[in-house]
Symmetry: C2
Subunit: 581 residues, 2 copies
């Protein structure tokens, strides 16, 4: 079933809170499941439909409509329950000091859902049983592929649909190498900066520019409430690193962490609706010494927390020893594992070393253990890797982890350009995605230097969208190059307005054009500032086309050329182009 052959009604969307990126963009809904796309209206009467992530838009204090409630209820395998009572500690020291939660979620409060006894809610579980869920149909429409491909890839573990039943606001999406390469944006406050409004604004900004998932990496105060605001307003899956919040609960003292505190934090987040969680269960005691002679040791925050705990207790990582219990929890909510690479290289010098690859072996073992519980899994990857060693990372991960989706941070291909690491990493990201990585975690210009602001989030998302798309094109993903061709055709035909509206960032494209040629008629002029009005290479190419269009051999062409050359001169040598002509 593809969009072409299903009965599809295209409804222009009328949402009070939906703000399109560009006047030529419209949110449309296709098919019975009303799957959203961004329609780009072109000046030549055509249109181009793009995959859309920005959702219907929401009032931050109310949140999004609960799109999936009916689908979940209909499966009749969940129950609502009272759930864990929110504690002051969940919001950190500030709440403890104040004796109250400084901020509250203002929207509706809904009792959490979990699996009825003996049930398993994961999309992988349904897929293995051969069931096609609405989530799978929704994904097939978004990806314009056969729903059976979706089911079989999810069943095999080669793709995941991160979909906590307590985040029914989310629009189902899929992460796997057979599908469009996805992008994640990290947001979240920290000990040195904080504001819930800022973080919700970053979420909205990130999805506006096309991020496919968002991770809330908050480490400061009000973590619980910040996450509630983010999830209730997010049309994309939300990921977290629960060990960050757990560490706050033990006053930042890694050795004070316990399985009980961690488990309680995981349940707290399952009930809120977190769709996937980074779990650093591969940082084993025996791997820690392997980092001793690295240039930059352990750079993963989660990895070093667990290494610190192992050192303090001289015991095996409790995330590893309690992994089966985590699987039992995750299957009750359909939370997906993102197996963290706590020992990823933080410098090109440390790439693909014994510590990194040792951990990857363990992540492969854990992947298969999670699959025994039908829990969905993706595996995280580096980091800092020289360009010649990038491909090996995804080849080994796909082999060892039996095709489980790979989710990488960049990688950065050189260490010498702080301030430009969105670019050093975009090089590695496009390359590793071309070789089979399913999702790319963005890197912003602030990497290594500070916390991303609103502009950094936009730059990071757009840089990663172009990297992911470059990989889709390189993989020959069906229809991927149509977007390039639509824009290049507009460029060739001097449809400047269409060139802007088809761009990943229409505003920047138009602003850059106007810096050199601000005049309104330059938007329709058959020339650009590179060659100026007198001469234009695009124009002469069109003359060539007028003469030789259609399939024609160089020989046939040459024969026709003599007479054509005379016409050409008669035509007034139309290598000239007049402005606006």
């Amino acid at each position: 079933m593809t969009i072409q052959d299903i009965r599809t009604e295209t409804t222009p969307f009328e949402g009070p809170f939906h703000k399109p990126v560009h006047p030529a963009h419209f949110r449309i809904l296709k098919g019975d499941l009303q799957v959203p796309f961004t329609r780009v209206e072109l000046t030549n009467g055509d249109h181009f439909d793009r995959y859309a992530t920005e959702g219907p838009g929401s009032d931050p204090e109310v949140g999004l409509p609960r799109l999936r409630d009916a689908w979940i209820a209909e499966r009749d395998d969940t129950e609502t329950y009272e759930g864990r009572e929110v504690q002051l500690l969940d919001n950190g020291k500030a709440a403890l000091r104040a004796g109250t939660h400084r901020e509250e979620w203002k929207g509706e409060r809904v009792a959490p859902r979990r699996a009825k006894p003996g049930k398993n809610l994961s999309q992988m579980h349904y897929a293995k049983r051969g069931e096609i869920t609405p989530e799978m149909e929704y994904v097939a429409l978004r990806e314009n592929c056969d729903v059976e491909l979706v089911r079989s890839e999810v069943a095999s573990g080669r793709a995941i649909i991160p979909n906590n039943v307590n985040h029914p606001e989310s629009e189902p999406m899929i992460i796997g190498r057979r599908f469009l390469v996805k992008v994640n944006a990290n947001i979240g406050n920290s000990a040195v900066t904080s504001s819930i409004q800022e973080e919700v604004d970053k979420l909205t900004w990130a999805i506006t520019w096309g991020t496919d998932t968002v991770m809330d990496l908050s480490t400061g105060d009000d973590i619980h409430t910040t996450r509630e605001w983010i999830i209730r307003n997010s049309p994309v899956p939300i990921g977290t690193v629960p060990i960050y919040q757990a560490l706050e609960k033990v006053n930042g003292e890694a050795d004070k962490l316990t399985w009980e505190i961690f488990k309680d934090t995981v349940i707290e987040q399952c009930e809120q609706g977190v769709d996937y969680m980074t779990i650093h269960a591969g940082v084993l005691l025996r791997y820690v010494p392997l980092t001793a002679n690295r240039v930059t040791g352990i750079v993963s925050r989660g990895g070093s927390i667990m290494a610190g705990w192992c050192l303090a207790h001289h015991q095996e990582n409790f995330l590893y020893t309690h992994f089966d219990e985590l699987c039992e929890i995750f299957q009750q909510y359909d939370v997906a594992f993102s197996l963290g690479d706590g020992l990823r290289p933080g410098a090109t010098a440390d790439a693909n070393d014994a510590a990194q690859l040792g951990e990857l072996r363990t992540l492969a073992e854990l992947t298969e253990r999670a699959w025994e519980y039908d829990v969905q899994v993706m595996v995280e990857g580096p980091g800092h890797v020289p360009l010649n060693l990038v491909e090996e990372n995804v080849v080994l991960q796909q082999d060892w982890c039996k095709g489980a989706p790979f989710y990488t941070l960049g990688p950065l291909v050189t260490d010498i350009a702080p301030g430009y690491d969105h670019i050093t990493s975009a090089i590695g990201a496009a390359t590793i995605a071309m070789h089979g990585t399913a999702m790319l975690c963005y890197v912003t210009p602030k990497e290594h230097l500070g916390l991303p602001n609103r502009d950094d989030v936009k730059t990071g998302v757009i840089t990663y969208k172009l990297s992911a798309h470059a990989a889709d094109v390189a993989k020959g993903h069906p229809g991927a190059r149509d977007w390039d061709d639509a824009l290049s055709k507009a460029r060739f035909e001097f449809r400047w307005r269409d060139q802007f509206s088809l761009s990943l960032d229409p505003h920047t494209a138009e602003a850059f054009h106007d810096e050199t040629l601000p005049a309104e008629n330059a938007k329709t002029a058959h020339f650009c500032s590179m060659c100026g009005p007198k001469f234009c290479s695009m124009k002469i190419s069109q003359d060539v086309r007028d003469r030789f269009s259609g399939e024609m051999s160089p020989e046939d062409a040459a024969i026709g050329m003599k007479q054509k050359s005379e016409e050409f001169v008669e035509l007034g040598r139309s290598v000239y182009v007049e402005p606006g002509a």
Copy 2:
């Protein structure tokens, strides 16, 4: 002979016009030939020496000292002569209208040099005869390699040293796959914007950030004078596309171009000191129809000029039919060919097609013809190419053109991101350089949209410097990764000031850091804004190192760990870090 084993005196440079990028940067001169490097002084007492391109600095109205005059005179194979008289037409319509040159070069005027009858001045000619020139020694010092490698690579045509005898101000550099990957920055005015001062400022700005060569692509008025100012102030080789100026001389009417007008323009530029010229001699009549069914036809300006001429006259490209005469001219000044890819793809849809590869075959033929005259040659490449097709471009070029240096524009790996094409092209550039491309022509954020301003030039150069360096690291170029390791070590040791001064762009790195943590003591703090003062992953890694430094097996390590774990707790669980501690 390498820098280690030659007697080298390191002289700090005292130039009134030299402005270092950063207070920790110094221009130093090494060896008998006083080869410049940028020394980065580190706070731990070490230093790191970087390849330097910015030259000694110059008063724009005086120009640079004539570094190579003595070397050239000593060879005694050149003669000075009166040279061609500068005509009003050389400066375009504005000069004709005004009846005078609107601007004049204010510095010293020196009679041009050319080869004595029967002599050949090219570095390739000397190299083939087994002669080691000062230019080759200079290059060997800059590249820290054996001078015989330089001579043999130049003799074989696998590398070039672009060095017009009429540009003695230039500091010799080499372009070839066995050497550091180089970067070119395009500047130049156009019909829609113009100012000599602006262009000289762009030149100075581009070399400040590390461009290895600069191309003056001016197409507007005052072309001759603008070029004079640029060459007299440039410590790096200058390239041009002479057909642009020739077209101005025939009022922009491609069909009015003649070999005589073109030849006169080439000699004009040879006498000024242009070091390499893009010649679109591969755009053959029979290839033109092959572009008819492309998405974007012919996008190279020079390519479409020659295609227009071929169409109008139905004759073979005069640059091809007169190629031997060009070789005879170039060998008298040591001007290098940059064989233009006039039929390069302008959209990913057109990559590696019959038109592009047909032209490449002809460029291979022309490469061998130029080598018969001992004229140095590099070959230009695309353009827009999907990432999976990038490697094929350099593999075919290196094979067909017998290893002649490849010089590519990007390539851009997707068409959908106008405004971000420095990034879409950096992905292709790093990849194609890793596979053997010798020089990368930068792309700025304004590509396809407008003319680069000062900021765009900086962004373009830095983006391409990081791409070129990523390729050097990926190729395992001797010493390339030392820079990465020096910066990563500074990062790991919280030497923030060193992290900034070792960056490609120290100002941006420091400014981004200060946005989150402006306080002065944050520059020495053992934490960063990502984790905050309470916890830091870098710090715990150092604890791991303290415990397990030196080569040690995981087993040995584990044995020692029990006692270490107790120490760790006694030590007050130093996963905490205090600000400034």
